[in-house]
Homo-oligomer: 639 residues x 2
């Protein structure tokens, strides 16, 4: 027989694993040196066993805490860990907000310490460098790893809260984090960062305590869950609530805990954290070979045994009531379902933003990050955005695989926040900084083109640079005291280079429009040496003209006499000539002459305010017969 | 308070709805005229209440049935419905295979009849036209709507099988359908069609009874589930198996049924049937306004109340043991995890194929349909494939929204199967048949280009036409007794036009390679008037040369004197001249002259076997200075 099915329903349930008593655990686990059940599995899903946290600190707030949806908690305890030192000017603090199942143990404190859930990002020399920054990792309100939650004793009742624990929100969670900051003497946060539900906390911080946050880093998160993600949470909660062992949430003192329901909820959640591709890679080859793990659940398929193992493990370290309360807090989080509402929700934010999504994340899809970015742009916030190419799904923010991009973005973003305003970052430049714009670039010296562009833009103007590459032109414009500078770029490495330069850059495809920008938002919009590579020229130009008061377009002139001669005398595609590409490989898919472009402007009712024709080989402007004698054209146009 | 949470776990479970006793139901429901609980909801998910099926027929096979994984059933009963009449030549039968929760009631038998689950596709004048075809809809083995399943009485034990019902496979299901065909005197099946798990049955039919099937229509299905889809099934089964009311599967005689577990499994399944977008559209606006449905489950969010309602409803008409057995049968279905294994699995198939996927289906993603298509092509099967643009997710095959494409494909495919071989179908041609190839088309009379192409191809050759449009060229080649004719096309409407012509056409993007075709598979590969619109020319040409013994490439010559003159004398892009596009909108993104193409061939080591230079305006071949005097070039090349 090539599979086997354990029969479960008929026999009395075996409870192979009994979760620690969470209520007493919450009171006593701190400093307990006795290691709990050995954690023998290797996993990519950041699940860890319920070991004692040796470096955890406790802050007790012994006054009542009013809650957003009504009611109050009579007192709050916060478990947290800190890394690095607060500097003399108290401006190097970074707050880490964990996701639903995380805790205060963000990273190792020393080599002997247990692994933290974000060791890859936080530590000496890492992206969030604990040699530079004072890093704070609190366990969130409602959790079960030291901070007040449903497993804590309700003083009025003399027993754990259970289901009587009030419904909490992300706002409440953040309020408690703020109390901790006050306790620690942290008055400014250089950065607040979090992924998934941790990102919800970041979003909340940025508006609730807007005066206190310099930089917000929202990773793999959303303004509110998709209906799909919400639906998965609902099904997970139903599994817990209908577990007979749930017993109205008062299971702490004796008898079994609702481990079956919690494990089912976790298994379901686990699927949503992984991408389709990641699951194929992991389970496709040995589909019918389940691992021999001790579990009550079905063990027919490898993926089933894997999920069962991690589902069971989860119940050892996590409290079902915490899962219910925290997943509900996440589901209730809502910055708005329309662009207008979302922009309004984020209007109070005054920090700089780094928004990161992952291409294969279907639980918090990139589109939702883009909606946040759009809302931030609509509110004139300073924001950079990157949709990191990843096959790892939602879990990507916890994995080393994609650290090369998102880790570098975090590092560069923080470095610029701590650097003097408007100056290049202290961070060491690497190869990717040398990447510069326009792979479609033209004949000779690009510098002449740049100089001309810069001369066309008055000091103090706001500028959008489309296809900004590594940001060289924007950096030059910054030197010229231009502000409101924004780049749009498609290449991830170029985006890192921009963020290293302290520039605001949006990861977007020009061919999909500029709907994130307001009509007339910029004094100037630049499209330098890119028009000839644009698929939908009409829409792109129309969008530029909508967004900018004036637009500057430069492109190689295919009317240039050397190119004409090539086609005319040699009978060969002019693209294959002076340009560095052959006909079959050139990204230059549009043939434009000065005449063509001017015909186009006439036809579309576009005003040509100025034309500069350049002979870049000779290094000068062309006056006579520019359609023949210029190899490059620069136009200033308006709608 | 803007939400409310029903507390469930603490109180004894309310069983608001008690499912009919399935075992007796299986024995008695047929012909029962008393309507069961009124079905009051409107839904897109094809869920229907447990009404009696007035037109159901019963076939009893009273001999033992051996099962694929061992063991046997002592007897089998099959509930089925039929539509239309078997014709005199007995060659108009179409078998409908239902998905996990379907039944024999495929469509209404008359206006007074209850809705069927596929009324949109099956009926008089519909895609599967019951005026033409004899349509058979059996309930599948293991189900709970009349055909033998876990709720049927095990004669040896004198009580329902429950969990003792043997593990069945798709192969067993199909074996039982074959017994029904024998009983009905159906020796040939013009078509076998099914979506989702119904598609698995189609795949099985095509190889198990390969001599009996003329046409296989596999809709929204896969060679085996993705690991992700499998994982969702596992979690659903775990919810049922751990429901205390499951009681080892022997819940039929008294006491509650495992309705909670089954409802949770169904809720989870329901999410996977819908696309992200469809759920957003349905639930985003009124997220926090749950519907007031009677349910034990959480009612905080609209999506939750919706899922709970349908989950509860499902338990009224479906048996938990059937769900376990059928979902396991689906999960065990496996035609192979590698292209080689898959091709081997399908090697025995001798029918023509129509494979349809839906772009937003993430449970049975289009990539899996493409893998099947690749395997069929690798085995020289005749197959057409379309990835229908849809926002509806996996459920798309049950919805009217996308019927315009998939319904038309089914209609046209069946019409051609029943038409005399090699002749155009009887089906009425519509607008989309007039669509023809090459939106990038050239200067003058395309007919000359076609005639030349056809003359280059010897009678009896096998031909692949890349960018085949509505299939005119392929249809002409068919007249010339060419065979093994296959088209590749990107446009859905053009694909319908090809299928109407009885041609085999694959929905694919030329820019993504031709990996589905074998090296040297075709005598000729044609790329007519398309090269200039191809993004990755090198790969496309390399792939053509790999797949074809010889390749024929035709393209507009940008060395043509009128075009040269345009650039040279007028200083305007030659693309804007004689061709019907302007520089900013042309799909012709590559500038090619005869010289350029010949340089390219030389550089890449490609042999030019023949060159035909055409002046299509004059309607003749050009001999002198073809790079200047021809507006069109045709090359025969080989690798």
């Amino acid at each position: 027989m090539f599979f086997r099915m354990r029969k479960v329903g008929g026999a009395p349930k075996l409870r192979l694993r009994v979760a620690p008593n969470v209520s007493s655990y919450n009171q006593t686990f701190i400093g307990n040196k006795q290691a709990m059940a050995e954690d023998t599995f290797k996993s990519s899903d950041s699940v860890r066993s319920g070991r004692p946290l040796r470096h955890v600190k406790i802050f007790r707030h012994d006054k009542p805490l009013k809650l957003e949806l009504g009611g109050q908690l009579p007192e709050v305890t916060v478990a947290y860990e800190v890394y690095g030192r607060l500097n003399a000017t108290a401006d190097n603090a970074v707050l880490i907000c964990h996701a639903i199942s995380g805790d205060s143990h963000v990273a190792k404190h020393d080599e002997q310490d247990d692994a933290g859930w974000w060791d890859i990002v936080v530590g000496p020399g890492k992206a969030i460098d604990t040699d530079k920054y004072f890093v704070i990792g609190p366990n969130i309100l409602g959790g079960c790893r030291g901070t007040t939650g449903p497993g804590s004793v309700n003083p009025a009742a003399g027993r754990p809260w259970g289901t009587d624990f009030p419904t909490i929100t992300v706002d409440d969670i953040v309020q408690v984090q703020k109390l901790l900051m006050d306790h620690l003497g942290v008055r400014r946060l250089l950065g607040v960062i979090g992924g998934s539900m941790g990102g919800h906390q970041v979003l909340c911080w940025s508006v609730k305590y807007s005066g206190m946050v310099d930089g917000a880093m929202a990773v793999a998160t959303s303004p509110r869950l998709t209906s799909q993600a919400l639906a998965f949470d609902v099904v997970g909660r139903n599994a817990i609530l209908t577990d007979p062992d749930y017993r109205g949430g008062q299971y702490y003192d004796e008898g079994p805990r609702p481990a079956t329901g919690l494990a089912i909820a976790r298994m379901l959640g686990h699927i949503t954290y992984l991408s389709l591709e990641a699951m194929q890679d992991k389970f496709e080859a040995d589909r019918f070979r389940p691992r021999d793990v001790p579990t009550e659940f079905e063990k027919v398929f490898s993926v089933g045994s894997y999920l069962a193992y991690h589902g069971d493990k989860f119940t050892e370290r996590f409290d079902a009531n915490s899962y219910l309360k925290l997943s509900l807090a996440m589901d209730l989080f809502d910055l708005g379902s329309t662009p207008e509402k979302l922009a309004k929700s984020l209007a109070a934010s005054r920090c700089r933003w780094l928004v990161v999504s992952f291409t294969s994340d279907w639980l918090f899809p990139p589109l939702q990050s883009q909606q946040m970015v759009d809302a931030l742009i609509a509110g004139d916030k300073r924001v950079s955005y990157c949709n990191v190419t990843s096959g790892c799904g939602h879990d990507a923010f916890l994995l080393r695989d994609d650290l090369g991009t998102y880790g570098e973005l975090i590092r560069a973003f923080l470095a610029n926040l701590s650097a003097p305003d408007g100056r290049p970052p202290a961070a060491k430049l690497s190869d990717s900084d040398t990447i510069d714009r326009r792979p479609t670039s033209i004949f000779h010296d690009q510098r002449l083109d740049y100089d001309m562009l810069i001369n066309l833009i008055p000091e103090g103007a706001t500028v959008l640079d489309l296809g900004c590459g590594g940001g060289s032109l924007l950096a030059m414009l910054r030197e010229k005291k231009c502000h409101g500078l924004v780049g749009v770029e498609l290449d991830e490495r170029a985006i890192i280079a921009c963020v290293r330069k302290g520039l605001d850059v949006i990861h977007a495809d020009l061919n999909r429009g500029l709907s994130q920008f307001r009509t007339g938002q910029f004094d100037y919009v630049i499209l330098s040496q890119t028009l000839q590579a644009v698929r939908d020229v009409e829409s792109a130009v129309a969008e530029m003209l909508r967004v900018g008061q004036k637009c500057i377009v430069s492109f190689p002139n295919f009317g240039y006499w050397k190119l004409r001669k090539m086609l005319n005398e040699e009978g060969r595609a002019p693209l294959g000539g002076l340009l560095p590409y052959k006909w079959f490989e050139t990204p230059n898919i549009r043939i434009i002459t000065l005449n063509d472009f001017e015909d186009f402007c006439r036809e579309k009712g576009i005003s040509v305010l100025r034309r500069i024709a350049l002979d870049t080989e000779a290094g000068r402007e062309v006056v006579e017969d520019p359609n023949s004698n210029a190899d490059t054209a620069i136009y200033v146009i308006s709608g």
